[in-house]
Symmetry: C2
Subunit: 405 residues, 2 copies
């Protein structure tokens, strides 16, 4: 089937999704910090959440709610994660959704709450409830950018991405927003994301697409190796596209639409790494080995190494640090005489030995670039993993030593 992917510079509306943002003054800030998303009846929604055992109160509530009912509303707040807040935190998350349910006349079980911000402080739910009337009034289909701004915490840029998928005679739209900058690491990469498409897809297939897309995007990024308590990613299919026929894995448009949705996930995930706290470099780590598990273990170890990350920050081709990280990766067996690696296309190590013709000036020129690919190959492996990460700079320390104060 012939197809086209059209990237849009501004977020495109998804019929069946309305959004609004407002300033509840949660941390006394002057910018919007609460987002309300309304989903059309019949929208098919799936969600995945952090695997942190100390997951936040809203994660517990949202996970429970979607397990029994499809959501009509999503409520996001920034400024306070409502995590590490015990039973009181769960009660406060419940108060938020009850407050909205009372106004809208729906069940609180049809509302999913999401929070992001400082951990360990009580959520002032009254401030959020107080802005619900204003939020409901201003719900509109074109508020994606404002919503992306309102969920930011240490993010420097708002993260949104839209794609139009033209396939055969039909077209579908996908829009997404995300937030995340620090405490970013699989699983789940520490963040909030909401992605919607107007395609008609049954919930069980939405779940399938979500799992696949997350695995190739938000589960493949690392800023600092810290997994948050509040990760959540929601995918909704409203079924409001011109084409009303339901997409299933046997539908001729299926793989194209899934690929298009995946591109939105990937773009949002990369934008999180590019906006990583203090990041000055965007690094793609590609590892090929015999098993995906090993490839991921090696990629993650290299991505998390403070010594590799500070060398990247310094544009110092101190490749011995990459070698040392590969060597300590938790894989059962590794034939070091089959390990090779490259900076971009420049080979540094071949079969465990430094390349004879290596010239530091060439490696240094690559390290100066803002986007760098580190490719690692073990023994002609077929299992390839891509992971995106950034460097570790003074500003990472500054941001995290100053955050809260």
């Amino acid at each position: 089937v012939k197809f086209e992917f059209i990237e849009c510079s501004e977020p495109v509306k998804i019929e069946g999704v309305r959004l609004a943002a407002a300033n509840a003054g949660i941390r006394g800030r002057l910018r919007d910090d609460v987002v309300l998303v309304e989903l059309v009846p019949g929208a098919q929604t799936a969600a995945v959440f952090t695997q942190n055992k100390f997951c936040a109160a809203p994660v517990i509530v949202a996970r429970e709610n979607i397990a029994s009912k499809q959501p009509k509303f999503l409520v996001f707040n920034s400024g306070n994660a409502n995590a590490g807040t015990g039973r009181q935190g769960i009660a406060n998350a419940q108060k938020v959704i009850h407050g909205l349910a009372d106004i809208q006349g729906c069940s609180s079980g049809e509302i999913m709450p999401f929070s992001t911000g400082v951990i360990g402080e009580r959520l002032n739910y009254k401030k959020i409830i107080a802005v619900f009337p204003e939020l409901i009034q201003s719900l509109a289909a074109d508020r994606w950018e404002g919503a992306a701004q309102a969920i930011m915490t240490t993010d420097l840029v708002a993260k949104y991405f839209s794609l139009e998928i033209k396939v055969g005679d039909e077209s579908y739209r996908v829009s997404g927003i995300a937030k995340g900058s620090g405490m970013i690491h699989p699983n789940m990469a520490t963040m909030l994301a909401f992605i919607a498409t107007d395609a008609n897809i049954h919930q069980k297939h939405v779940q399938l697409i979500l799992a696949e897309c997350v695995n190739r995007s938000f589960n493949r990024i690392s800023v600092d190796g810290d997994t948050s308590t509040n990760d959540a990613c929601v995918l909704t299919a409203t079924g409001k596209a011109k084409s009303k026929s339901q997409l299933t894995p046997s539908h001729p448009h299926w793989s194209t639409v899934v690929e298009g949705i995946s591109k939105v996930f990937e773009s949002l995930a990369k934008s999180i790494v590019k906006d990583g706290e203090g990041a000055t470099k965007f690094v793609e780590i590609i590892v090929e080995s015999k098993s995906e598990e090993d490839s991921l273990a090696i990629a993650t170890t290299v991505a998390q190494s403070p010594l590799v990350k500070t060398a990247l920050f310094a544009s110092d081709p101190n490749w011995g640090r990459i070698l040392a990280a590969i060597g300590r990766a938790p894989v059962a067996t590794m034939n070091i005489h089959k390990v090779s690696f490259w900076l971009n296309d420049y080979q540094i190590v071949k079969n465990g030995e430094p390349v004879e013709t290596y010239e530091e000036s060439q490696a240094a020129a690559i390290m100066e670039q803002e986007e760098i690919v580190v490719r690692i190959s073990l023994d002609r492996g077929e299992a390839k993993v891509r992971l995106w990460t950034c460097d570790l700079s003074y500003d990472y320390v500054r941001i995290n030593a100053e955050y809260r104060t």
Copy 2:
């Protein structure tokens, strides 16, 4: 048995061990960078090495040599790790020990080489061989401090510790030196260490004591989570103490002497963390759970968290970051309602809930201190693990972004 441990402010001589340091100009520096240690015939020596698969050439050679022969000499150099150097690196490490063997008329298999410094650059073995005559000339029993200085890389202070053990009518001496500041993480904590005692202990028991002591010291420290390619720790028993009777596990002095030796290991390990690159805080993490494996996994996750480490640097009682790190630790099951933790003696979380009477000012006062204990308890566990770590400061980034240049 009555006993006394006497800590000495200056390194004490160990009969049967002579040391010397010299400047070979390996990285063009003006300070000593090569150390020669001579062990008396009959000295019983054991060694443990890094588990990094890309271990350095000297590690490969030293491990092979001690497996078949007891060493007469140890040669250390700083400035160049001779790691990531492939077959040429092994040849160069061999050239170093052959150079010494030729002069001394011993077998090169009786010499253990150790290197520390930059990874991935060729070792100029000729510079080391050139200083052997000077080193042999100046061998003396009182050169422990000079040796500790010569093996430093990014270390700011020389690390040595001595203890006299008086037990019953006998006395034993233990002296040790160590180096390490960055790339510090179990196993082995990235460093070089040489410890000697004049007690008479058979090699198989020296090995036993070494394994036990390393497990409670150098394997329980983390600066940055990076395991080096060059870790090595050597323990020698010269048998030259006044008491000539051999210590075995059934000897009445055994446990006291082992405890004394362990204290030297512990002191050296702590001094590495206190001198951790950019460190401004020394943090002891104590975890009690049902299994030592879980306790260690939690302690390591907290110690490695950049967000916990930057909060420590900022003296910010942002304890939610500790909670988040506990929650993402790789343990199979965790009942979060049984998790409690304290900063020093001040309880922050009790049974998974923030303590009602928590006052930020009290926690902040503790975070201001230079030495902090984070104690974490899971479900009245009996398996206790102690791990020492430090904070993550601007200077960690500066040191590692500048190292080499």
